[in-house]
């Protein structure tokens, strides 16, 4: 028996076996690794082909982008009739907000990003200065949109509508419900029986009933609970209901986060002699909020989507505008086009929010992995 020896470098390095790397290797591993897998790939590919073929044809190639009525659309081509949207795009965006005043919406919408930037991106330069702007932004936006000060014409709430209404409802609901949710979550974990019971009742009630019944209450009953003669805007009433509703869900998410904090953290805080509020401020909340970011973002996205429900109580959000357009005999029956257009708007904004949540999660993740 002779022994073999190998000296490094005495043989050339061989390339990896063919078919395990590169494009070919990737296709083999991910699409055709076994018979059943290949079958699945073929079925998916056929499905995808028909989907793309149908979508491109109906959406773009055969679609009509400008016409006076549905009948005219159908005369021109067989695909989607986007004219119902293009003819009313102003209404879809601004509702019935007076046309000459629409710059006020544009300005407040654009400055909203400036106001949110320091809150959403902690690393932004000049963050301190921008935070001041964030603090005054609600007042600024209210004055700009609502008017009535500094020579700006007062605009009635009933004229609000379209995507602008969705954003107003969604953003104010989100901004108001987070603090309330935190308070409720702390209340539910409190040692004080009275506080705990009250929080549990509120949370369980709000989570137990459908949002639409709460909106009915807002539209038809809330005035009964106010002193006779008070009459405050339906928009405010709806925002209050949205806030209560999503605060209850946020409270449950944050409670999960609080419960996930190891007991040693509290014991250490107690040992250092911290008061309840110090413990909450420096130990509980920073950790609990970090854990619950995905859940909180999901609740926000849910709230944003739920703003469409206001159409049931007669507010003119994009769905309301769409239904009004469909009620017009000229556009009767174009529901697919109208609703798909609104759906696309919601998809883009909600998808962006969920991507941001993923980014934030990975940024705040301090685990040693």
């Amino acid at each position: 028996m002779s022994s073999q020896t190998y000296k490094p470098g005495s043989y050339p390095n061989l390339p990896p076996p063919p078919g395990t790397v590169g494009v070919y290797g990737w296709i083999k591993n991910n699409l055709f690794s076994s018979i059943s897998n290949s079958l699945l790939t073929i079925i998916s590919a056929i499905l995808l082909y028909y989907l793309i073929d149908g979508i491109i044809g109906w959406f773009f190639l055969d679609a009509v982008f400008d016409a006076d009525s549905k009948i005219e659309c159908r005369k021109i081509d067989s695909g989607a009739c986007w004219a119902v949207i293009t003819r009313r795009v102003g209404q879809f965006v601004y509702g019935f907000y007076p046309e000459v005043e629409r710059w006020r919406i544009d300005v407040s919408f654009l400055t909203m990003f400036v106001a949110f930037a320091p809150l959403l991106y902690p690393d932004i330069p000049k963050r301190k200065w921008l935070l001041w702007f964030s603090a005054i932004y609600p007042v600024f936006a209210f004055i700009l949109i609502n008017g009535g000060f500094f020579g700006l014409a007062k605009i009635e709430y009933s004229l609000f509508g379209g995507f602008m209404l969705t954003v107003i409802l969604g953003v104010s609901g989100i901004v108001c419900s987070l603090p309330l949710g935190i308070v409720l979550a702390l209340g539910r974990q409190s040692k004080l029986t009275v506080v705990r019971t009250l929080s549990v009742c509120f949370i369980e009630f709000m989570r137990g009933v459908p949002l639409i019944t709460l909106l009915f209450v807002a539209s038809s009953m809330l005035n009964y609970f106010m002193p006779p003669g008070t009459n405050f805007s339906i928009l405010v009433r709806v925002i209050i209901m949205f806030t209560f509703f999503s605060a209850a869900y946020i409270a449950e998410v944050i409670r999960g986060g609080i419960q996930a904090i190891p007991k040693g953290q509290y014991e250490a805080a107690d040992a250092l002699g911290m008061t309840y509020w110090q413990k909450t401020r420096f130990i509980t909340l920073p950790q609990a909020l970090k854990i619950s970011i995905p859940g909180i973002m999901n609740t926000f996205i849910g709230l944003y989507k739920d703003t469409t429900l206001v159409v049931v109580i007669g507010l003119l959000d994009p769905l309301g505008i769409g239904r009004a357009a469909l009620a017009d005999t000229k556009w009767n029956g174009l529901s697919t086009e109208t609703y798909l257009f609104v759906a696309l708007f919601f998809f883009v904004s909600c998808f962006a929010m969920s991507r941001y949540s993923l980014w934030l999660e990975s940024k705040l993740n301090t685990d040693h992995k």
Binding site: N30, L31, S33, N37, L40, T41, I43, S44, A45, L47, L48, K191, L192, T193, V194, V195, L198, E204, F205, R207, G208, V209, P210, L211, I212, T213, F216, V217, S220, M221, N223, Y224, F225, M226, P227, P228, I301, K305, D306, T308, L309, V311, V312, L319, G333, L334, S335, T336, Y339, L340, V342, A343, F346, F347, C350, F351, S354
Partner: protein, 387 residues
């Protein structure tokens, strides 16, 4: 001063003071609200009474599971609505579960293309509001399906048209009792055999193909009974008479749209839950199961799924609950569920907002509280026993 200071510094007494203060504030707010309601009702000359429940409703409901006509009371109309809510929730939950589990598994598959397709389906479906799903499906059924005269014909049995779907209706004749009896016997056998097989496996390690044996027994026994008793089931096939179909079972466009929308929307969430549940099982579990030589199907059924189930069931139940609550959006397309009957037309006709909304909310509340009670029970039962 010193005395007050002592009370405030003492934890016990401070807690009591704070609680009394909170109670006082809440009581004050509540009494203020009630006083307002009282004043408003006096000004309008209204009172609170539930007698309206027993007067004739006077409106028609196009779909009912129990007998109903417009001379029946508001209470009965409400019950019809509640049953309709249950009906759509039932169909929706079945569709959502089947589709959701399927998508969740596809999403985890090693096949890149199929996984990506499922991913984009899930993202599109869950990032669009449920109300839009409902309106979109309703619009598609109403506007794009043909009139009954040109209905899509599936094998001369099922017809799809813009007035809804028509499917054959099974009619039972004399002798059906035997089939039912055999079905019950088959189910009892299946349960007993399942228990026996499990005991046997625990004691000796011998495994029977329980699923296949039970399935064939449950199918075979009633089929045999069906032929012995002279085929007592016939199908009533819908047929076009005049402008619409007669006979068979009818699924209204509203019910169909709601079922599709709720099922497709919730399926996206269920798919993510299933995926997360399976991924939550430690990688070592699968590796260990594979290394002791279990077949892939056994790895899944005996090792992965029992552990994933613990993670999946609680959020799954809350999705079912969400689906049921979301079915209240039926009012947007005119499906007569609980909110549309009692909280909609009855409310408008009697003008009793307070009473109808309280009843509707209490019903939803009791359903969701009992489901969360079940969930707590399940969580406690399924919890890993640790020290």
């Amino acid at each position: 001063m010193n005395f007050l200071n002592t009370i405030w510094r003492n934890e016990k007494s401070r807690e009591i003071i704070v609680q009394i203060f909170v109670l006082f504030c809440i009581g004050w707010i509540l009494s203020w609200l009630i006083a307002n309601v009282d004043a408003n009702f006096k000004a309008l000359g209204k009172d609170i009474s539930f007698e309206f429940l027993f007067i004739p409703a006077g409106y028609d409901i196009n779909q009912y599971l129990i007998d109903y006509n417009n001379r029946d009371s508001h209470l009965r109309a409400g019950i019809v609505g509640l049953l309709n809510t249950g009906l759509v929730a039932f169909f929706g939950i079945i569709l959502a579960t089947v589709l959701g589990v399927f998508l969740g598994i596809i999403r985890l598959s090693k096949n890149w293309l199929a996984s990506k397709l499922a991913y984009w389906y899930i993202e599109f479906s869950r990032n669009v509001p449920i109300l839009l799903h409902i309106l979109l499906w309703h619009g598609i059924i109403i506007n794009t399906l043909p009139h009954p005269k040109k209905a899509l014909n599936l094998g001369d049995l099922t017809f799809l048209s813009n007035r809804g779907f028509y499917i054959p209706k099974p009619l039972t004749e004399n002798g059906i009792e035997l089939v039912y009896l055999f079905l019950v016997i088959a189910i009892i056998f299946a349960v007993l055999f399942f228990k026996y097989a499990r005991r046997k496996q625990d004691l000796t390690g011998v495994q029977y193909p329980v699923f296949w044996i039970n399935l064939s027994v449950i199918i075979l026994l009633p089929t045999i009974a069906f032929f012995i008793s002279g085929m007592p089931i016939s199908l009533e096939i819908p047929a076009l008479r005049g402008f619409n179909f007669r006979g068979g079972m009818h699924m209204s466009p509203e019910l169909a749209a709601l079922t599709f929308a709720l099922g497709i929307y919730t399926a996206a969430f269920i798919a993510e839950i299933v995926r997360a549940g399976i991924m939550a099982v430690d990688k070592g579990q699968r590796e260990a199961a594979e290394s002791i030589g279990l077949k892939p199907s056994k790895v899944m059924n005996l090792v992965i799924l029992p552990q994933a189930r613990r993670v999946i069931i609680p959020p799954l139940t809350s999705q079912y609950l969400n689906l049921t609550k979301n079915s209240s959006l039926a009012i947007a397309i005119g499906y007569m569920d609980l909110v549309a009957t009692l909280g909609g037309i009855s409310l408008n006709q009697t003008g009793r907002e307070m009473e109808t909304m309280v009843i509707v909310m209490l019903i939803y509340l009791s359903v969701s509280l009992s489901i969360s009670a079940f969930m707590n029970w399940y969580n406690n039962k399924a919890k890993l026993v640790g020290r």
